[in-house]
């Protein structure tokens, strides 16, 4: 009897672990990319070029759903263009992914321009250009010094954001991060463990907004909505591309970053220069073409499919390519 119960419980725990591993994280975004619709505009199908068959590529990504979806989109599009494609979509932090592309372990991976500038090239968050193009130009120049090439950015951008429940925001009359002044001392803030020391996260809130919080608690990124729902966190660090923000508008809000401490980053695809030369012109063409439909709205929809509806990143990417007309 008892042993059965224990086993049942162990089985339930295992199932939960599986469910969790399928639907963990998303990294934020934002901005004005709300224009385009699902149709993907001027798409046009990707044409397979037989010359590409002799080129083998390995597409990487960092280890959270949005990145894995992007990795899949690029990998499947390149496959459609005739390349031999493998994927390695669980590269951990940006440090690991950056090293992997430099060492040639992967051909390329998607990185947020803002992350690249602050994390790899020591740019202060307030110096990160707010507009996509100058930020891209700046990152591209820095990558070039390392022998890497960055392709033009996606339409959508992603950023950290201070989020809370709609109820709490109303009670405390919060709309912008500056509204926290004088109130934050009695509020708890939850964020990823690395948020505590990052200048584009807690360290920036302290330095540029002069905010002090009652306490900061590190939690796994996958728990960022759980702590709000539980009522444990007053404030939680969310991502502007989070599907929860679109799907549960009446429940969660993000506070406007009025001092622009959290730089928004459009995604740029980074490869080694030698890889780009070897792969030929279809490489850049395919990547730039397939990301044209990736507006904020579309990215949130794709994140929702994976995080909320538990599709695999592979399925979500395939659905995107098909509905936007890139593949048949």
């Amino acid at each position: 009897m008892r042993s059965q119960l224990t086993r049942l419980r162990a089985a339930a725990a295992l199932l939960l672990a599986l469910a969790l591993s399928l639907g963990v994280v998303a990294c934020g975004d934002s901005d004005d990319g709300t224009t385009g619709s699902d149709e993907g505009g001027n798409a046009g199908a990707i044409v397979a070029n037989p010359d590409n068959a002799k080129v083998s590529l390995t597409i990487g990504s960092k280890n959270f759903p949005e990145q894995e979806i992007l990795g899949e989109i690029y990998a499947q599009a390149l496959k459609a263009a005739g390349y031999k494609v493998k994927s390695d979509l669980n590269l951990g932090s940006e440090t690991v992914a950056h090293q992997a592309v430099k060492s040639g372990a992967i051909s390329g991976y998607p990185e947020y321009a803002s992350t690249a500038l602050t994390s790899f090239f020591g740019v202060e968050p307030e110096e990160v250009p707010a507009e996509a193009t100058p930020a891209y130009e700046k990152a591209k120049g820095e990558f070039e010094k390392e022998g890497l090439t960055a392709f033009p950015p996606t339409p959508f951008a992603s950023a950290n954001a201070v989020g809370t429940t709609t109820k709490f925001a109303e009670e405390e009359e919060l709309e912008t991060v500056s509204d926290l002044e004088g109130k934050s001392e009695s509020m708890t803030l939850y964020g990823s463990p690395e948020c505590r020391q990052r200048i584009d996260c807690l360290a920036g809130l302290e330095k540029y907004y002069g905010l002090k919080f009652k306490s900061f608690h590190p939690v796994d990124i996958g728990l960022r909505y759980t702590v709000l729902e539980k009522g444990q966190a007053d404030l939680s660090i969310l991502f502007t591309t989070d599907p929860q923000l679109a799907a549960e508008k009446d429940k969660f809000v993000i506070l406007e970053d009025d001092k622009e401490v959290f730089p928004a980053g459009n995604v740029i695809f980074v490869s080694k220069k030698s890889t780009v030369e070897k792969a030929g012109p279809d490489y850049e063409k395919t990547i730039v073409q397939v990301q044209e439909g990736l507006t904020l709205e579309v990215m949130q929809e794709l994140d929702a499919r994976v995080e909320l509806e538990k599709q695999t990143p592979k399925e979500a990417a395939a659905a995107y390519l098909k509905s936007a007309g890139y593949t048949g």
Partner: protein, 240 residues
Amino acid sequence: MIGVSPLSPPLASIQGAIEFIFTPQTSNVTGGKTVGGIDQVIELTLNQLELTVFALALSLVVAMPIGLYLGHRGTGELFATVIGNAGRAIPELALIAFMAALIGVGVLNLTIALAILGIPPLLTNAFVGIHQVDRAAVDAARGMGMTEFEILRKVEIPLAIPTLFAGIRSATIAIVATATIAPIAGVLTLGDFIINPNVYGDDGVLAGAILVALLALTLEFGLAALQRRLTSKGLKLSPA
């Protein structure tokens, strides 16, 4: 300087890790604030020890009475071993996430999750240790008029000390090592260095791993010394 080192040669050096432990280092993502250094190392080590003590205490309170009682009675072997084996199969991360939704994150969540890790070895070893005590010694004690509780306290427990302590040591190592993941659920332990390579760099990751290993070894040696002091002379293989 915490930087991005090429994948090969080695990601981090022992020398870099040792520097990280003693001296605060610059970091790419903190906007000028230094990270690491002995003060932070001490703070995180104490947090990890505190969490370990809480979890070990809870697992002792739960497992010991049951294990000792069942061992003394000589019944419930199936229960003790099944709990022991099935308990080890519970994935810790899933447990923490599961309890995060029930009771939230923080010290209580982690104490319970880590205690569950400590219970199996304690329970199994307490049962086996007491159960295997020479029946002749127990019968003799009973013949001398000892109560059941006296038999347990004065005869069985002293004779079972090596096995009981083996359980306590396994539980302690499992708990202190796993307390490394606590920063995903609200408590900053040495794992902070390991899971945040963007902040601490490769040297910080290696430093964290070294510190956790040192902490575990220190506890292991400490408990071994305690065990030697508590073991009755007649049970020792060599004179102390």
